[in-house]
């Protein structure tokens, strides 16, 4: 869904001058992107609104792991690979996801539905091993549960 630039521009106006406003604007633009990324046009828009050079916005965007500058899948699967998940079998979960989705961490499935990302701690170690799909966390996972979980998202996409 591509909206008219003036509408998008008006949406981020409210963030200008706010503490953390630029990150809010970038979050807002990325969340509207079908392919979960910030396009060159997004970056230019933010630069002009906030009165900073585009290269500086680029520098900021590429710094943060929640932002992407290339298209990603509709759903982002984040797999924690830090120690608390590692000691209870996170590497098996990542391996199972890689196998099931036929992509490596960092890749996107051919149907454009999922991007798999290895990430730092998600802060839900109490239910480790955990993954996050978009903004939803799934914990106490076993690799056997994964196919059914992903199937839910596939069904939703087809509906």
């Amino acid at each position: 869904m591509i909206e008219a630039p003036n509408k998008r521009s008006a949406q981020i106006d409210v963030f200008v001058g706010q503490p953390g406003g630029m990150l809010k604007a970038l979050h807002a633009l990325q969340s509207q992107s079908e392919a979960n990324f910030l396009s060159p046009a997004d970056i230019k828009l933010v630069a002009s609104k906030f009165g900073v050079p585009v290269a500086k916005v680029w520098g900021t965007v590429t710094f943060y792991s929640l932002f992407a500058t290339t298209p990603r899948g509709r759903h982002i699967i984040r797999v924690c690979e830090n120690a608390p998940c590692h000691v209870v079998g996170a590497s098996d979960i990542l391996a199972a996801l890689e196998q099931h989705l036929k992509i490596r961490a960092g890749g996107t499935t051919t149907d454009g539905l999922f991007t798999l990302e290895a990430t730092s701690c998600l802060g839900v170690c109490g239910v480790a091993p955990a993954i996050m799909i978009d903004s939803t966390v799934y914990g106490n996972l076993t690799k056997e549960q994964l196919p059914a979980l992903l199937a839910e998202y596939r069904q939703e996409a087809q509906a």
């Binding site: 802060g123 839900v124 170690c125 109490g126 239910v127 955990a130 978009d134 903004s135 939803t136 966390v137 799934y138 914990g139 106490n140 939703e156």
Partner: protein
Amino acid sequence: MKSLNELKSLRERLEKGQQLAEKPLRTIIIGMGTCGIAAGARGVLLAIMDELAAKNLSDTAVTQTSCIGMCEKEPLVEVVVEGKSTLYAYVNGEKARRIVLSHIINGEPVTEWSVERALGGRV
């Protein structure tokens, strides 16, 4: 925003339900922190709402709280009947329905699923 929209509409239903009964006889409290949700609290909440509606139990309030710290035992569900509280651990949809039947309708807590039992080790 799949889960959040769902949560929101559930919450609206919840609050409506709560307002109907001025002073609920029975309360079911579901742990809806990130840990709880990650462990499946959403499905538990749905099952409870569903079971209560099916059994027409409009005098039972359903509300939420956050994590009490026993993340590993999530989803946690507390049932309060006449001031007496029972906390259930590792609840899933199926267990939730049985808790409604046994504890809410028949007044018999399902003690083997209580957290005191669970604290002795994973059930």
